[in-house]
Every structure is written in structure tokens, then in C-alpha cells.
Amino acid sequence: MTVQEFLQYSILPLIFFGITAIQALGLQLILGGAGLLSLGHAAFYAVGGYSAAAFTVYAAPALGLTDPTLLMLLSLVVGALSALAAGFLVAVPCLRLQGDYLAMATLGFAEILGTALKNIDAVGGTRGFGNIPKLSSLPWVFVTLALVWWALARFRRTGLGMAIQATRDDEIAARSLGISTYSAKLSAFVIGSAIAGIAGALYVHAVQFISPDEADFSRSVIIVLAVVIGGMTSLSGSVLGALILVVVPEALRHNDTLREQRMIYFALIVIFVMLFSPKGLQSLFMRFMPKAAQQRGGTR
């Protein structure tokens, strides 16, 4: 295989990696940041993707927009805002629920959403939504990934970011310090959903197709896996998790048995991580870099 062939072949997996990483970063804010388990993250991704696609296919020609860069930027905004709105609709009632119920309610909403998408003929129903213009590409995906990563890293230090983390660690203590835990959780959920929507907008304009399956529970589980395997508490962990989930199957391309069994190993890693190394694989890697590991938690 020549270098050129390799690059050619790598583009799609890299796009998938970038998009999974953006999804995972969004969920990281909800799961690792606010401590809320959303089992319906893929639904917000699908909402973003469908809305962005509907925007470029139906709305943009009507508005007379043709510039591809502008269109892509606008569709990112549309994707983010629509997912944000969907996240808001789900979160407002569901955040009143405690832990496990919240997880099931988000799962339920995702299933309902998938069912609804299957029944909307304007976006293809069960057949899926095709013929979406190709607007995004590898650079788009990676620049967006970098921006989202950067923004989330800075977001942690802001007032809201601190409030979200405090709420995750101890709601009663957070409230006793004047933090409205409800708005903290709501913000985390809504922002995380919006990020998923951005990933959706990038996806539909790279692959030029989306089907209701994208809102599936199994897709949501993949994102949860990425966040948990890499290490819930860190952003780089989520990106690492996405890398493992996308690249490992690609690397196993020539080994069908291993490739088919990959979910078994991912599931085992998740259980292992939860039981023995709650900070995820990232913290295991950190152990091989003693200096970096000692930075946090050491005396200075």
C-alpha cells in the first residue's frame, strides 16, 4: 500500500474519529463534568445532524445561500442550536429526577426521538436522509474538534464550569455555597447536547447521509464507552476513548474474529475501569509518566 493509498483510506476513519471525539467531549461535560448519565446522547447528535441537513437542503436554497463556507458555518450553528433546544426540552423535566431515573428518561427520550424521525417523511423516514451537499471535510472536523476541546478546557475554570463540577461532587454542599444546582446541571446538559449537535452537523455534511439509526441506543452507548474508557474526569480521556473506539476496529480490519468481538473487550474494559481505575485508561498511561502524574495532588 502506497502512502497515498493509506492517506486516502484513512480519511473516513479520521473523520469518524473526529466526530466521535466531539460527541464524547460533549458527553464528558454531562457525565464527567456534571455527573449525569445520559443514555441518549446520540439522539441530540441526530437532532443536530437532521436539522443541519434540513437547513442546507431545504432552507438554504430558499434563502439563496450558496457560499459553501458560509453554509457550513450556518449549519453548524443550526445543528448546535437545534440540539441545544432538544436538550433543553429533555432536561427541564428530567433533571428533577434522581440518578438512575434520569439515565432511563434520557434513554426513553432518545427512543421516542428515533421513532419520531422514522415517521417524518420530509427527512426520508426509515430510509434515511440522503443527497445532502458535501460541505465538511477532514480539516473542518479537526478544526472544530480543536476549538471545542480548547473551549471546554477553558470553560472548566469559569464560574459556571466550577459550579457544574461542584454540583457533581456534592449537591448539598454546592447549594450551601449559593450554587443553583438545577441550573448548573441544566447548563451542562444543554451545552453538552449542543456540542453533540455540532458533531451531527459535521457528520451529515461529510457523509452526505443520515438515518434514524444514528439516534439509536447503541450509538449512545458507544459515546458513553468512549468517555468512560478514556477516563470520565478529563477531556483528553474522552478524545483518547474516541481514538480507541474508532481506530482499534480499523486496525483490526484484517482480523475478522477480533473485530467482531471488539465490543466484548470494550465492555470488559468499562467494567474494569469502573472497578479498579475510575479515572480511566488515561490515568493508567499517566502512571508511565511519573512527573505529569505528580503535578496534581502532590505538594508544591
Binding site: 469559569t158 464560574g159 459550579a163 461532587d169 454546592a174 455555597l177 449559593g178
Partner: protein, 280 residues
Amino acid sequence: MNSTSNHGSSEFLLKVENLTIRFGGLVAVQNFSLRVPARQIVGLIGPNGAGKTTVFNLMTGVYKPNQGTVYLQETELTGRGAHVIARSGVARTFQNIRLFAGLTVLENVIAAASWQRRGQSVASLFALPAVALKEKKLLESARKLLEFVGLSSYENWEATSLPYGLQRKLEIARAMMTNPKVLLLDEPAAGMNPTEKDELAKLVRSICDVHGLGVLLIEHDMKFVMNLCANITVLDHGEVIAVGSPLEIQKNPKVIEAYLGAEETTGEGTAAASGQGSHS
């Protein structure tokens, strides 16, 4: 005794009247009243299960009282949300320490300023100059508070990896970051050795004198309470059985009975009955 007794000369910061709460058929707290003046330390004592922490929870909005009122100066706080009460100027610590485990020592303190930074998140995301100065000041005051409680050298530790006594001090620093008028301390000296307790006593004293706060504290260590508090309220079975100066409380037959009657707290009962303020 050398407790400062400017009792009556200053206005009341926190005024609690006739608080009552029932859990199912059980009356946990009944007709509880208490006042906390500025720059004064008030004690709340009583045998285990008397309802002391429940009183804190009622005052800070964790529970909503069935009856009664809570005022902070002119503001009524009765039945408001916990975060609203905190923003009005009532801060607290917890009996079972509740630090933010995922955050460092410094971050724990900064997290307490979150609500004061509302509406600035976008600006601080991009480090706009409008908020840069504010953020710097915030960091400074957080560091100052850490210095005040003696935790400067632990800034970057994970909060929960601190020794127990220091965790309690960090909770105090964190509570003070909300700029409270009244500070409620729930057993701040629990699990501390005598040296640490002396340091803590000094700290609480200067919270009052230097920072000008009113302090209400729950404590089982009678020597600690008697030394520090100008005024003590004794709670038993959810009801106030005595109010007064440490000397009055020590002599009060009802208090002695309440403590001696409760088997497990015999030791403390003796302390209540005979505890002398030996040092300050």
C-alpha cells in the same frame, strides 16, 4: 471565663423564631428560637439526636420548616431555597465533611464564588479584559482565605487527600468565600487533637473579630464551647431547654439532667456539669 459579652449591644444578624419541623408523625424540632448578633459566637449544644443538625438544615434551607421564621437582618429566609439563603449571607460547614472531591484545595474555595461570577462565563472563556481583573481579585481573595486558615501550602492538593483537621478548616475557608454575614459551623472540632482545637478556637475567634461575622456553632467538646461562646442554647429532644451564658448553662439542672440522662454522653455530661474554662 473570659468570653466577650457585648451581648445586647449589637443588633441581631440572624433571628430564628419558633421553628418547627415534623417528619411524618415525629416532631424533630419544636418551637426553636435563637438569635445570633454580629461579632459574636453563639453555641448550640445538646445530646446526640437532639436535633442540632436539623436546626442547621432548617436555617440553611435543606429542609423547609412546618412553622416558624428565619430572618437575616431584614430579609426573611424562611422556606427559601438553600442556594438563595447562601447568597443572602448564611454560610455553613457540615458535620460529615462535604468537600468537592474532584477539585483541588484552591478550586474548592474558588467554586464557592461561582454564583458571584454569574453571567461572566462567556467573557472568562475568552479571557476578556472586562473580567480578567475580577478573576484576578477572586483568586487573590481565595488565596487570602487559604492563608487565613493556614492552608496556603496545600493549594494544589486534592481536597479529600488532606488530613481530617485540615479538611474542616478548608470547609471554613470555602464557606467564607461566599462573603457571608453569618457562619454556621457544625462540629468544627470533631476529630481534632487538642493542639488543633486550640488553633481552631483562635481561628473562629478571628472570624468574629477580624471579619466581623456572627458565628453559630454546634460542638460536642464542652471546653471548646464554654471558652468560645458568649451565649449558649441547649437543645434536647428537639426543644430548647436552656439559654444563657456558659456559666449559667453549666449550673442549669435541666441541662445536667439531659446530659446525664443520655447514657452514651455521660462523659460529655460531666464536662457540661463541671467543665471549667481553663484556657482561651
